[in-house]
Every structure is written in structure tokens, then in C-alpha cells.
Symmetry: C2
Subunit: 337 residues, 2 copies
Amino acid sequence: MRKTTIEEVAALARVSIKTVSRVINDEPNVRDTTRLKVRDAIDRLGYRPDQSARRLAGARSYLVGLLYDNPSASYVIDVQSGVLDRCRAENYEILINPCDYKNHALCAEIENLVRHARLDGLILTPPLSDHQELVSMLRKQLIPFVMVAPPNQSDPARSVFTNDRDVCREMTRYLASLGHERIGYIIGHPDHGAVGARYRGYQEGLSGAGIRFRKGLIGQGYNSFISGEEAARQLLKRKVRPTAIFAGNDEMAAGAMKAAHEMGLTIPGDLSVAGFDDVPLASQIWPSLTTIRQPIRAMSEKAADILLNQIRGEPVNGLQMIPSVMVIRDSTGPIGG
Amino acid sequence: MRKTTIEEVAALARVSIKTVSRVINDEPNVRDTTRLKVRDAIDRLGYRPDQSARRLAGARSYLVGLLYDNPSASYVIDVQSGVLDRCRAENYEILINPCDYKNHALCAEIENLVRHARLDGLILTPPLSDHQELVSMLRKQLIPFVMVAPPNQSDPARSVFTNDRDVCREMTRYLASLGHERIGYIIGHPDHGAVGARYRGYQEGLSGAGIRFRKGLIGQGYNSFISGEEAARQLLKRKVRPTAIFAGNDEMAAGAMKAAHEMGLTIPGDLSVAGFDDVPLASQIWPSLTTIRQPIRAMSEKAADILLNQIRGEPVNGLQMIPSVMVIRDSTGPIGG
DNA sequence: CTGAAAGCGCTAACAA
DNA sequence: TTGTTAGCGCTTTCAG
């Protein structure tokens, strides 16, 4: 069974192929009755336009690139499925493209990729959304793009945010409400844009609860398990050790838990631990991790929406913010509990 | 800067476009000197053929589909990156396609996908490699495909294996060598083909160590954390409880660890636990999990190789087996240790 | 509002 | 061993 082509649709609908093309592309200047007739023929034949032919003939490629350099597999999978859903629904394909954000030639490579694969647009996820050089290049080249969780709100029309800061403030206050006063914090990788917002949320949470900020309770991590473990070990070795540790992501929180275990501390009895992201790990360690669920899938769907609109030249509505929510599990509890 | 086309290459090399086409496609019947001349022109111009045009004109699409329905994000990401590497190197693109293996219309959908996207071939990962209906459909339709870790060796030319059974035997004997005699086993999801081989390896390991197989030490899981937790809880409630538990994957092993912790058992003091896969979780829980590292990336690269060869009609060499290896960490130790 | 004709950049026959 | 000529299925002019 051969694929049905635009000609067969045109024949069945008794119009020219150009009219069919107009209908396919939602172009104006087609009488409603004609449009209906064509739509009907399309349905009856199960016709779907050939992407290669459209790409070759037209200006658009119906292809968007998805750029990522994220060590968290579950993050990437969530982003992919969100974007896939949206794009397939609109007959766009996605080109997944793992990157190395430290690669000095990254900009050139991406520019090349866009040109060669004729990408209609790009979706950037952290830490690529934080890559200033890349972002300015795209702006300069007028390449449509959208950023998931960029570090600031300077380009809201091309961004999807979550409320890192608010929810971190909330988490800190929650820990305080359990009686904790020495609440440590492990900062994430400095190259990661959301890191600042989360840290600020923590600080605000402290002051909101009337707790003094202490530099000595802050550790620097790099988003990895091992970095969290090391940072926590330092914090826990102090004379006045924290009774709670809030880490900038779940991997570091898990590392902190390991450090605590190895030092003979029980969780949450001697130490409460909280993370951020709600990766699968969070519910698979013991005790299960109190954390913050980031709406990754919803954010990526929204990002795809924005990008497709942008590509079509349609207006993009206001600030896109999808809230993260706290998930309280077993790794946090009342002080001395 | 417009993209350079085959015509410009032909002009520079002073040959016809057909000759350039022959060189691009590694076709025979081109004099070596001509081939060199053309290659040189291609390099000088930085020419790369337009995929859409090739797809439209030719029989091949330079597109392969990657099918998966796997809850483990790290597994999928590893497969993707292995396949991507190989395919991009050969100028093939991949179409990632999450599936639902329980969907009754799956076969029809895949058939449709192949036809509509004009896929040159398909890579199946578990549990899709175990989907008999799908596999026979592909065979019948003469659609090139390759299976990662299929349930049996009935079609070695289209398969990449690992030595599940051998390495599970080895792990079981390792546990026995630590003094364990009551070694429990949690079976994975029955729909998953590798499950049988792993279980058999366990049984062989027992008899190899001179330990009697006891039905009462076997639990049925479904590859998920929670199923492992429940199965382990049953096993540990028995009057003569196991001193070691070997689970068919890491998630279930983590679930078993949770059950043990909640029952007040220490690991590995009271209970040794081992898993399979070496997902990131394995090194991020406490104590870190003794497990078996599956060479997912290497297997998928090999799978891509096999598929591309098959597509080109080149011969496929013998049985492809890439061994898994044991990774001993802290969740296993001498009995009563 | 609709249609005819000219490509997009390449591969597939077929000729030479 | 090489070149010529038709398309592949669609979008884009440009004319009606």
C-alpha cells in the first residue's frame, strides 16, 4: 500500500493541490465549504503530508532541537516526553541533542546544527539556559528558542519558570516549624542558574522564621551525590552541627544522608534532610526524602508550546510560571525526634 | 550564507552531479582519482548532503526508530546515547519513540510509524524485545530491526545479548562464599525476558555452591521499588528468614533494603542485599548496593551497528554478547558480619 | 478565493 | 566509468 499523496486528496476533493496545501497549512483564503471538503478527503484517505517533501520545498523544517547537558536521567526523560507530546501533536519532530556546556566550540556547533539540520527552533534546558554566549548567539542570529528555567527573568517571552525561591523559602520555614534552628544548606553547582534563587529562598526562609543566617552552616556542592556527601560531612563535623540540612538537589541530599549514616547519626532523629527535584531516588532511599517536586514535564510542554507559537509568529502570552510543590516524606521530623 | 549543494560540488570537481552522488553513497564504479577529486571538493566546500532531499528522492530515509517502554530513565538515556553516537557518525538520525507495550494497538501503530516516517529500521529495547507479536510483524513485513537483550537466542543475527545467567550464577556463588546459605531471590516482572535467565542463574549458583533450592525463599516482584519492598517483607517475615537477598534489579533491591531497615535489620550485618543493573541509585543509597553492571551503552552501540549493517545489506557477524560484570559495594558482607 | 507551473536537492533509471 | 533526464511530494511564486 503506497502512501497517499496530496494529489490524490486534491482529486478526491476536486480541487487543486495548492488548495489542499492551503488547508494543510491553515492558510487563509479558502472558502469554508472548500476547506471542509478538503478536510473530509484528507480524513477519508488517512492522508498525512510527507515531512521530507515539505522540508525540501518549504522554508520550514518542522524540526526543533532539544538541547541538554544534565546528569539527571530522569530530568532529561521528563523533558523529552513533555516536548515530544507537544511537538508530535503539532506534526513537529524533535532532534535530541546532548551537549557539553563546557565545550568552547559549543556555540559554533549549535549554529552549525541549526543550519545543517535546518532546525526551526531550539529548546534549552539547564544548564544550557544559563549559557549566556549561546543565548546571545541565538538572539543575534534570530533563531527561535525558548529556555526552561533560565537564571533570570530578563526574557520572559522566551522562558518558562518555576518558583524555586518561594518554595525553598517555604521548605526552610517548614524545617524551622519543626523546631530546627541550625538549618544547614548545601548550595548547588555555581554554573546552574537556579542555584542562586534556591539559596536566596533558603535565606529568606530563615529570616522569615526569625533565625539568624550563619555562614558556617553553608556548604558548597556541585549537584553530585559525592559533592553533597563531602559538604555534609564538613557541616556535621562542626562543634555545633546542624540539626537539619537542606540541599539544593536530591542527589546532594542523598549524599548528605550517606554522610550522616556513616557518622552514626539517625535520620530524622538526629538530622533532618531535605532535597529538591523529587527524582525517583527520593522515594527509593531510606528514609524516603522530603523534597520539592519540580513540574518538569509541565514546564517542557509549556516550553514547546511557546516555541511553536514563536515559530509561527503568533504572539506569546505573559510570564509562564509553573509552581513546584513540597513533598513531605520521612527524612524530616521534629528536632530531637 | 546559503547551503552548498551537490551541483556546486560537481562544478568544482568538474564531474556530473551523479558522480558526486556516487561518492557520497560509497557506490562502486568510480575511478579512484575521480573519487579523490570529488572528496576534495566536498571538503573544500564543507558540503553535507541535504537529508530531506535524499529522503524524498531515494528509497532510504536515513532514519531509524528507537522503541522503548522502560521505567528506568537511566536505562533509556544510556540506550539513547549509545545509539545516537553510532547513528550520527553514519549520518543517520534517530526517532525516539516511547511506547506502551501493553497497548493492544501497538503493532498497528508501529507499522504506521514505520510507513509514515519511512523508517529504515527499528531498535527494540526490553520489554519491547520480548513482544512476540511485534517481532513477528516486523519479520513478516521485512522491516529491518534489532533487539537489545531479547528473551532467547532464536534470532542471533538481530540480537545483542549480555550474560545475565552467568553473572547471576556468579553473584549467587559470591553470596554463598560469604557464608550465606539462605539466599533469597526476588524475581522481576514476568513480561521481561531477561527475568528467566537471571532466575536460572541464581538457581545454578545455588546448586553450584551445594545449597538446596527452597521455594520459600523466592519472592515475586514486578521490577518496581514497591514490589521489591513487599516481596522482601514477606521473605523477611518467615520463621527462617534469608540472610541475603538477591533481587532481579536495583529498584527492587532498594525496596528490599527499605523493608529490612523498617524491620530493624542492619545491612549487611543482618542481611546482605544485591541487585542488578547498576543504575545511579545503586551508588546513591546507603549502604551502597552490590550489583551487576549491565553494559547498556555498549550493547546499544552494537545494536545500532548491527541495524545499520542490516539496512545496507551487509553481512552480520556471529553472536553478539557483551558481558555484565559484578560490582561489589557495601550492601553485602559475611554472614552475621 | 483558486489554480498552473516552477522548483527544493537529491537519487534512480537509463544512456553513452 | 561517467553523464542525462526524470521524478520524489510538497511549497512558492504568479496568474487568473
